[in-house]
């Protein structure tokens, strides 16, 4: 391993832990200072490790962080005067459970002044430890936008006096719901296929799953919804590898090699579904839809009627044009072509759907008399290379 790869691995694993550990001393309002200190420590590692790699890199980084922090304390008095960074609690401990710290950080960004998108950006940076350019890559936004979003959020933290809760169990019901949603949105960003097969995406999904599991195991945060969300994530992860062929081209559900689906993950997911009980949160319903897909022996044998019904419940509690679109597709496969067409036609009244390539993909399947025209439109509107290539190869050649 070169020192750059070593540093990158350690960075991903420890950046957020170190920032959170420091920010707990300084208060969240000095998050920027905490971040600067950790960045400085990693910069020093990059300079020194080429010459000599320490035996215990993590411990080395924690020590350097602590020293930089103490110097800053003397220089700028940024830290509270009575604060001293006690060596015992700020050292690297291999087996420390840090999930609680990560959940505390996540909890801090459930403040209602942040939009869900901001919360995801914040979580990617300060909980999952992705670098700015990686976040830009995952979200498909310019790095500059990510930097500005984080800057605005740190300003809000100061203005609104947001700080860590003393323990996760203090989370309100509303905060727990936002926590689940952040984890769900993080996972969705990781699970999208539009960027092609990417190691970043897989890492992100695993981070989201880890946070979901930590929530479910935390007595103060656990809920049936948390288990339903874990099941939903695992069902999706079980199909992760089968979504691309050996050339990195997309493979739709219909043509996926079902023997490649990860049976162990499906088994664990079913266990969590059982623990989730029969609640009716959108996580329960989405997990139920995912289960109906993974438990079907073939695409044709899928219980489309049941999927239509579950989508109906999902639309009742959490309406969205994409849920309606997916329900229309399920209607089509269940044999109700007229119903499917009717539903898509109604969705097509919105300018947004008319401009969205997935809507035209759905029309291409359902409106078979004009499918070529719809797929051509989908091709024109899709902003993603991998999908454009898929549409052209599958439907236009």
């Amino acid at each position: 391993m070169t020192s750059t790869t070593a540093i990158n691995t350690i960075y991903k694993k420890n950046f957020s832990k170190m920032v959170i550990a420091l920010a707990k001393y300084t208060g969240l309002r000095d998050l920027a200072t905490a971040e600067d200190i950790v960045q400085e420590a990693f910069a020093e590692a990059a300079r020194k490790w080429d010459i000599q790699r320490p035996d215990n890199p993590e411990a080395w980084l924690y020590r350097v962080c602590r020293n930089i922090a103490l110097n800053k304390l003397r220089d700028t008095k940024k830290f509270e005067p009575e604060t001293s960074i006690d060596e015992g609690s700020f050292t690297y401990q291999v087996n420390t459970k840090t999930e609680d710290d990560q959940l505390l950080m996540l909890l801090a960004c459930t403040h209602p002044n942040f939009s869900p998108k901001n919360q995801v950006v914040f979580a990617l940076r300060y909980v999952a430890g992705f670098r700015i350019e990686q976040i830009a890559n995952i979200l498909g936004s310019p790095g500059d936008t990510i930097t500005k979003t984080l800057f605005r959020m740190r300003e809000t933290i100061v203005k609104e006096n947001i700080n860590f809760e003393t323990e996760v169990a203090n989370a309100s019901q509303a905060q727990k719901e936002v926590l689940l949603k952040i984890v769900y949105l993080m996972f969705s960003e990781g699970a999208k296929t539009s960027g092609g097969r990417s190691i970043l995406n897989l890492e992100l999904c695993e981070d989201a799953l880890g946070l979901g599991l930590a929530m479910a195991e935390s007595p103060g945060l656990t809920s049936p919804q948390a288990h339903a969300l874990i099941a939903l994530m695992l069902f999706n992860l079980s199909r992760f590898e089968a979504r691309f062929d050996e050339h990195g081209d997309l493979v739709e559900l219909e043509n996926q090699d079902r023997s490649k689906w990860n049976k162990d993950m499906i088994r664990v997911a079913v266990h969590h579904i059982t623990r989730a009980g029969d609640g009716v949160s959108s996580y329960h319903l989405e997990a139920a839809i995912a289960w109906l897909h993974v438990s079907a022996p073939t695409f044709a044998a899928t219980d489309w009627n049941k999927i239509v019904i579950v989508y109906h419940k999902l639309i009742t509690i959490n309406d969205s044009p994409f849920a309606r679109m997916n329900q229309a597709i399920a209607l089509f496969y269940s044999g109700n072509v007229i119903g499917a067409l009717h539903q898509l036609k109604k969705l097509g009244e919105s300018a947004f759907m008319q401009q969205h390539y997935l809507f035209h993909m759905a029309l291409g399947k359902v409106d078979s008399a004009n499918s070529k025209k719809h797929f051509a439109k989908a091709f024109e509107l899709s902003p993603h290379e991998v999908e454009k290539r898929y549409i052209r190869r599958t439907y236009l050649e």
């Binding site: 002044n113 939009s115 998108k117 498909g140 994409f322 919105s350 401009q355 902003p383």
Partner: protein, 114 residues
């Protein structure tokens, strides 16, 4: 969750001078922004507006006048659900065309009698 009206305001002369390609690019950007808000469960509805305006007044319907000459006008609207007006404003800030200064978005709380 409360509902908010986002009024998209922009310089009409700028819109007129957009090339076909630029227009498509901007539509794609707006579509992605709405897609994001849909996935996060904030988007309720919204559409762009065409050119053309009449003003109904007590004496007659006006089809010209200072408001028609205005440099800036509402070119679209969106209704979103948000926890508070600051969150609604953050949703508006999430639009790349706001970030690069091409449009402005006025955020107004919708009065809720319930």
């Amino acid at each position: 969750m409360k509902r908010f009206l986002l009024l998209i305001r922009e310089d009409l002369r700028r819109v007129e001078n957009l090339t076909e390609a630029q227009l498509h690019e901007e539509i794609a950007i707006m579509t992605r922004w709405v897609e994001e808000m849909t996935k996060t469960g904030n988007f309720v509805q919204g559409d762009p507006l065409e050119n053309g305006m009449r003003m109904a007044t007590s004496s007659k319907i006006l089809s010209d006048g200072p408001f028609i000459e205005a440099k800036e006008a509402v070119t679209g609207f969106t209704i979103v659900k948000a926890a508070n007006i600051d969150q609604a404003a953050e949703l508006a800030m999430g639009c790349p065309l706001v970030q690069n200064g091409q449009i402005k978005i006025e955020v107004r709380p919708i009065l809720d009698f319930a």
